[in-house]
Symmetry: C2
């Protein structure tokens, strides 16, 4: 049964520029049915917490511009749980805001924080892992991160170095973190992979609300002071106006830099549930069923001839014929068309400008 | 000054299946601004006869389905000059119908017949050639064809073999035809090119109306009988109904087979005015200004990177980015997208089905 103290925070303020033209500033990838399965990434994210907490304990942090999309796509989430950042300040201020807010509602809240635009293939295993982490943080003042068991020397992710010599007494699958490592170069990534104690940092965190609020107080007193000062106003009429005034004063900093790398007692749950941050067209291709020639096609009436290893993604197009391509992205959205080698996709941001 | 006996017949009933998706059965290529110049191929065709005949002497033969497009695109052509074929029967019945019709209006008419979907780069030279041919047919009972001086061993065109040993006494640029040759294989085309008396058959004909009507009477008595029988009805209320009943009885045959190859006295005017039948995407690429890398781009906001020798043609797309292609067609129309090697474009008809 869903524990009434369990809360889920979905961070949905990103702009997904690497997935242009599918993802645009007007409608970033978390609001799109990227996988062509009938549910947007945001909906899939909420779906995978089903049974873990009541709907009124789901929180979404986004921007004013996207609040309408969130309401539309997650109609069961109460309006008051959709928090609107007046500007983008990375994940630390985002998490601080929602944490103080949750604490104002339930000081015993036990919280998972997750990005809104990742994919998880094995939802059952994901739920087992999250439940296990939440049991742990319900009983301890631990900060737990999820570490993804890597299968390739990916240079696009940060890594978590774990101390596998001894697991927690309370949970045999949870270990201490030795260090967080930024996105490595290929040689370093290969070194990490050759060992067994490096994991991808999925940006999914579990803690009880007192733990994270205290961590902000200790390690980010400037940010803590802002949200502490707003305590009398959470849930009141004036809240948004005050947030609009105060939030921009927060430092622009990720929660990894602001908290994770500073806290001494931090834990990792190494897990494998078919996770991807879907950060690139290439990763979408990997996570989409492919035909016998390695083509991943998402969209209506796509026909391919003599075509291999392509990622074809269309939304408005009524009919698409692709002949003679190997290793390309073909993406169409609302009258915008991209044809680009998968190997050159880091240039997409430039193309979109 | 435009001679009031001069008439122009534009055949505009084709369906342009090789230019899919730009050209569709609903709106074939003659009704499209293929060159991105602001005028459709039909309009460019009519434009290039400016000054040669009055607007009320321009005739368009098309189908019921396209009559609206013709009226819209050629508002100066009188409604009564737009002839509607009830079904497609190739060029011989088309030309017979319009010839009897013109004869009913003006038995002294001097006529040019032209396809609606070709391009001519040098309009001034085109007009000089046509005027010269019409002067000739005004004074003689000759059938004159236009022969295009070939610059490559094209296997997609029929050829006209001329007897260049002696030109007409009345016009030094006009010669007798020795034979018409169907689309050759490459070896044969190369043989033709190595001589100087083989010309591409452009499908443009000049004659006075008595000559062509008499030719039908002699060589296609079945077709002639049908249109002869309708003489009391041309221009009357019942014309379309009778045409709908009788026209389908005509043999399905091209004017080349039905008349040209049978007539003994037939002439050719070898000319060079930058002609193409625009039969393929490749020929459109050749006739469109190219960037330094051989890309021909027609459409709004097309950006290319590392791309060579491509034909990019878009109509509705708002923004197009192409990276890393060489020798491809990228064509978009109304939500339909084609990406195909130029070398494989003969398969487009299959792709469109």
């Amino acid at each position: 049964m869903a524990d009434k103290n369990n809360h889920v925070v979905i961070m949905a303020g990103g702009i997904g520029s690497r997935f242009w033209p599918m993802s645009t500033p007007e409608c970033p990838k978390q609001f799109i049915d990227v996988l062509g399965c009938g549910r947007t990434l945001l909906q899939l994210t909420a779906d995978r917490f089903a049974g873990l907490c009541p709907a009124e304990n789901i929180w979404v942090v986004t921007s004013e511009a996207y609040a309408g999309l969130v309401r539309e796509q997650l109609p069961d989430v109460p309006e008051r749980n959709i928090l609107k950042e007046p500007c983008r300040r990375n994940t630390a201020p985002c998490i601080a805001y929602v944490s103080w807010k949750i604490k104002s509602v339930n000081p015993k809240a036990n919280v998972v924080v997750t990005p809104s635009d990742h994919v998880v293939m094995n939802v059952k295993e994901f739920q087992r892992v999250i439940a296990s982490c939440m049991k742990f943080t319900n009983e301890t003042d631990a900060i737990v991160t999820l570490g993804m068991k890597p299968n390739r020397p990916e240079t696009g992710y940060g890594y978590i170095q774990a101390d596998l010599s001894v697991s927690s007494a309370r949970n045999k699958e949870i270990y201490r973190v030795d260090s967080f490592r930024e996105k490595p170069d290929l040689a370093t990534a290969e070194k990490y992979i050759s060992k067994n104690n490096y994991f991808w940092n999925a940006g999914i965190f579990v803690w009880n609300v007192s733990t994270i609020v205290n961590a902000f107080r200790v390690y980010q007193p400037g940010i803590a002071r802002i949200f502490e000062g707003l305590i009398p106003h959470y849930g009141k009429e004036e809240e948004q106006e005050l947030i609009n005034r105060e939030f921009p004063l927060c430092e622009n900093i990720s929660v990894d830099y602001a908290i994770m790398e500073k806290v001494e007692e931090i834990f990792v749950f190494p897990a494998a549930f078919g996770w991807s941050d879907l950060g690139t067209w290439g990763s979408l291709q990997e996570h989409t069923p492919q035909d016998a020639y390695g083509n991943a096609c998402i969209g209506e009436h796509i026909s391919v001839y003599d075509t291999h290893n392509c990622m074809i993604h269309t939304t408005q197009a009524r009919k698409v014929v692709v002949q003679g391509l190997d290793g390309y992205i073909v993406a169409e959205k609302d009258g915008t068309l991209l044809i680009c080698k998968l190997s050159e996709e880091q240039r997409i941001k430039q193309f979109s400008e």
